[in-house]
Amino acid sequence: VPVPEQYEFFIDPNRCIGCQSCVQACGECDTHKGTPMIHLEYVDRSESVQTVPVVCMHCDTPTCAEVCPADAIKRTEDGVVQSARKPRCIACGNCGLACPFGVPRIDLEKQLMMKCDMCYDRSSIGKKPMCATVCPSQALFFGTREEIERLRPHSRPINTFKFGRQTITTKVSMMVPRKAQVTYVDVLSGMHAELPGRCVALTVLAEDPFAHV
């Protein structure tokens, strides 16, 4: 059963308070018990406590599926990119490396990629995903576009992202300040930067470097 079309997922990083509720709730799900699929990332941990919840954005051109050599990642008719199919996945990790949002997780013990599938068992029967039901500040919001417009008059949803030459349109929307200007992050130079730990530093560019392409 497909996820109802009127319901959409909105991420509002401005409202994230880093409480880890979503991580806990995600880990309690029966389909992947004990392993949360949501990532709670720190933007700049030494400078700020700001966190960003990262769920799968469910791209219209899923890069994870494009790079999968085992043909294991599929997208259902409602636009939800599902976790890798167990019999097909070879746990090569291509998807995790290729995903511009860093969403897929590889379980080396199970030799399986698992990722956020918008709680397909819940959302396909009209319930909200786990993370959206527990988020106390509603940084993770699952509802209609009218609802979000009424509730967040100073924000607007965007679902187009640019990573170098790659433009990605997603099913999940990101809430940004209504008047904010769109900036671009220099992901290409970040790809080859060698930094300690899992920390990545990226430069913000004034304009789209590939606008002419």
Binding site: T61, P62, A65, E66, K74, R75, T76, E77, G79, T169
Partner: protein, 181 residues
């Protein structure tokens, strides 16, 4: 961004499906397309599978003819009656070195011999004189000692019976009787 119900994902270059390389149609990202089976592919599958069944039947038939045309194996002395006490058992190889068989003395006068391979999945059967049967420990199959017919468990065919001949005190195996019922 939806194209139609069948195809929802867009290729990275954004071009229509007709202009895409063939592998993209063979390995689609969308579930509805991935599950779609063309009538031609289905027919091909049907013909090839039924063809494989026909070839399989011919091979089975040819093998049966080959087995039937084989001459009876030579007799072989396997034991002396005096060495085998009542209730005792001896294993021996007949007709080839790898065909393990079991010789049983059920009472003073009677000796029987069967192939030791269970007719279910070829585990070795062991005599169980208490319940008067040959027991297969793999899947709890049981055969009657007197006839070799299956009593319980998964096996459906009786154990191949070894034809025995008594020459004086010696017991000779002279043939293998494969039975289906």
């Amino acid at each position: 961004m939806k194209i139609d119900r069948e195809q929802i994902s867009t290729p990275p270059d954004g071009k229509p499906l007709g202009e895409q390389p063939a592998w993209r149609q063979d390995f689609p990202i969308d579930v509805p397309q991935d599950n779609y089976i063309a009538r031609r592919d289905f027919t091909k599958f049907l013909i090839l599978t039924s063809g494989a069944f026909v070839v399989g039947q011919l091979v089975i038939g040819a093998k049966a003819i080959q087995v039937q045309s084989q001459s009876a194996p030579e007799g072989k002395q396997i034991a002396r009656l005096g060495d085998l006490p009542v209730g005792g058992a001896i294993t021996f190889a007949y007709p080839e070195a790898h065909d393990t068989c079991i010789l049983l003395r059920t009472d003073d006068k009677t000796v029987v011999a069967y192939s030791q391979k269970c007719t279910h999945l070829s585990c070795a059967v062991i005599p169980d004189h208490k319940s008067n049967c040959l027991h297969c420990p793999c899947h709890e199959g049981n055969f009657d000692i007197a006839t070799g017919t299956p009593i319980s468990g998964p096996p459906r065919r009786p154990l191949p019976r070894i034809v025995l001949e008594q020459r004086g005190d010696d017991i000779w195996a002279t043939g293998v009787e494969v039975r289906t019922t």
